[in-house]
């Protein structure tokens, strides 16, 4: 693999790289080896430590806990997307009485840690006489935080679109809502799809916070398991950890795939990602590309996957 940072290595560089490679391998092997050695020395690999995982019941419970995790994630993802749209559109409103409160709310939601918000809902609300299920505390906490983050992403996506898009929308007689719904949002969503999916990965990871407010999800079950016969603390952490990592890797994979697809998409040629948004030169140069991209647009939508050029 070649990089712009360095040349194809010559004989001396090859020798030096070999030494570095050996050092890296040695350090990594030492760290991993030490941990494995300690685990072996403290009997983490003995059969009775893994005994609990031979029961079908345990696995049934793990799947149930997995269902709880995914249940909270699914609802939180849908709700936070909905909230994200509402907040993003509200923040772009022309009316100050909508824009200002929504801006303050978004900033506030982003500044409060998710866990504190969940605790407010779960431990705080009973003071006011509202008893809340941990499930709802987790879902609402995730919704509010991720919703506000998604709102920012969508807003950035909309604001980085060429100004001509909005103007053209008005020129063909669309109303404000029409411009937003048919012109700006579809492009912003497509451009921001990788960011949105990446945020969903964060949502999935954050469901694990439910453990702290006693929502019976995967990690909570891991804690429960660790008090079983043989005290398999590390073992249950490994098993549950593998499940989490597998789920997140799948979602991250989707995000990466979308990102690569977006980069090759003919529909987004005129789109200029972040920074330099105010630079007029950037937009002037893209007028023909925008037209080309709109021409190619119809078939792209219909075809689903569409041609990769």
């Amino acid at each position: 693999m070649s990089s712009v940072l360095y040349d194809v290595p010559g004989p001396r560089a090859i020798a030096r790289n070999r030494i570095l490679a050996v050092v890296t391998v040695a350090v990594v092997a030492a760290v991993v080896g030490f941990v494995v050695y300690r685990m072996a020395a403290t009997g983490q690999f003995t059969a009775d430590k893994w005994y609990v995982f031979t029961f079908t019941n345990v696995w049934m419970s793990i799947f149930k806990a997995l269902g709880q995790t995914l249940g909270a994630f699914a609802l939180a993802a849908v709700l936070s997307l909905a909230l994200g749209f509402v907040l993003a559109i509200g923040r772009l409103s022309e009316h100050a009485w909508v824009r200002v409160p929504v801006t303050v709310l978004t900033e506030l939601f982003r500044a409060v840690p998710v866990l504190v918000f969940m605790m407010l809902l779960y431990y705080g609300l009973p003071v006011l006489g509202v008893r809340m299920d941990p499930y709802w505390a987790v879902v609402l906490g995730l919704m509010v935080y991720n919703g506000s983050v998604l709102a920012e992403a969508l807003r950035a996506g909309i604001e980085s679109l060429p100004k001509g898009q909005r103007e053209a929308g008005y020129a063909i007689g669309l109303r404000k809502s029409g411009v937003m719904a048919f012109i700006l949002l579809p492009q912003a969503i497509r451009a921001m799809l990788p960011v949105i999916v990446a945020q969903l990965v964060v949502t999935l990871k954050d469901t694990a916070l439910g453990f702290i407010i006693t929502y019976p999800e995967l990690l909570y079950y891991a804690k429960l398991l660790s008090s079983q016969q043989g005290r398999p603390i590390l073992q249950s952490a490994f098993v549950i950890g593998a499940i989490y990592i597998a789920m997140c890797l799948i979602l991250s994979g989707v995000a990466k795939w979308l990102e690569i697809r977006t980069r090759h998409s003919p529909k987004l040629k005129g789109y200029t990602p972040d920074v330099g948004g105010g630079d007029p030169r950037v937009h002037d140069g893209t007028v023909t590309e925008v037209i080309a991209m709109q021409r190619g647009g119809g078939k792209f939508d219909a075809g689903g996957v569409g041609p990769t050029l």
């Binding site: 990089s3 500044a111 918000f117 003071v127 916070l209």
Partner: protein
């Protein structure tokens, strides 16, 4: 207000612990992140592979689970005893290091290819290409996202509350489990939220200031 002045000692301890976790964890994250970030752009394929595996593995693990490994798992290994706070700091440092590494790598890749090519064309070796040409430019684009990472780190310190580390988010339990302490959970948590909002706002102000100060016009 009673909830603050009646428990002033606890608030002091909690804020102190939160800042301790934040700063020490941040330093660990920065040092480890720079090492891993350097590995990810290095010319040694094995180093790149190790960096990639580390980043992908930890980034796709919930922070709560990393804490679980350190706080509950570490004592199982029969190594010297470490307090929960130390283990928590290690956990959050190792978790955040992956984000630091990614920000650094992204920063390096925003430097135009021509810069590195020009530097190589005048005969600079890898070390000088990096220290004299790439890093000074990358540093400026890295600062704003790096501050975002540290804002996230500050908010993530709350996770430590679930692992009996006496920081801000754990204050609710401490105050409410003591019979003679004033304040109900709602009050405590709202004030905790206020503290975080203030801290985050201070950090975003610094971020905006640095961003304007070091903006590059290309």
């Amino acid at each position: 207000m009673n909830v603050i002045f009646g428990n002033l000692d606890l608030w002091g301890e909690a804020i102190g612990n939160t800042l301790l976790v934040f700063f020490v964890g941040g330093i660990i994250a920065l040092v480890l992140g720079i090492i891993v970030g350097a590995m990810r752009v290095s010319p040694v394929p094995i180093a790149r592979a190790v960096g990639t595996v580390y980043v992908n593995l930890i980034r796709n693990t919930p922070l709560t689970l990393v804490f679980f490994f350190f706080v509950f798992g570490y004592p199982q290994l029969g190594l010297p005893d470490l307090s929960n706070t130390v283990l928590g700091i290690l956990a959050i440092g190792i978790y955040t290091a992956t984000y630091v590494a990614e920000v650094l790598r992204a920063g390096i890749s925003t430097v135009p290819v021509g810069q590195a090519e020009a530097a190589r064309a005048i005969g600079l070796p890898f070390g000088q290409v990096m220290t004299l040409v790439i890093l000074p430019q990358a540093f400026r684009t890295v600062v704003p996202p790096m501050m975002s990472v540290f804002i996230a780190l500050l908010k993530n310190t709350t996770v430590a509350a679930g692992f009996s580390i006496a920081e801000l988010a754990a204050l609710r339990a401490t105050i409410n489990d003591a019979p003679d302490r004033p304040g109900n959970p709602m009050e405590v948590l709202l004030w905790v939220a206020v503290v975080f909002v203030v801290l985050v706002m201070v950090m975003s102000t610094i971020q905006r200031h640095l961003e304007n100060k070091w903006r590059i016009v290309r």
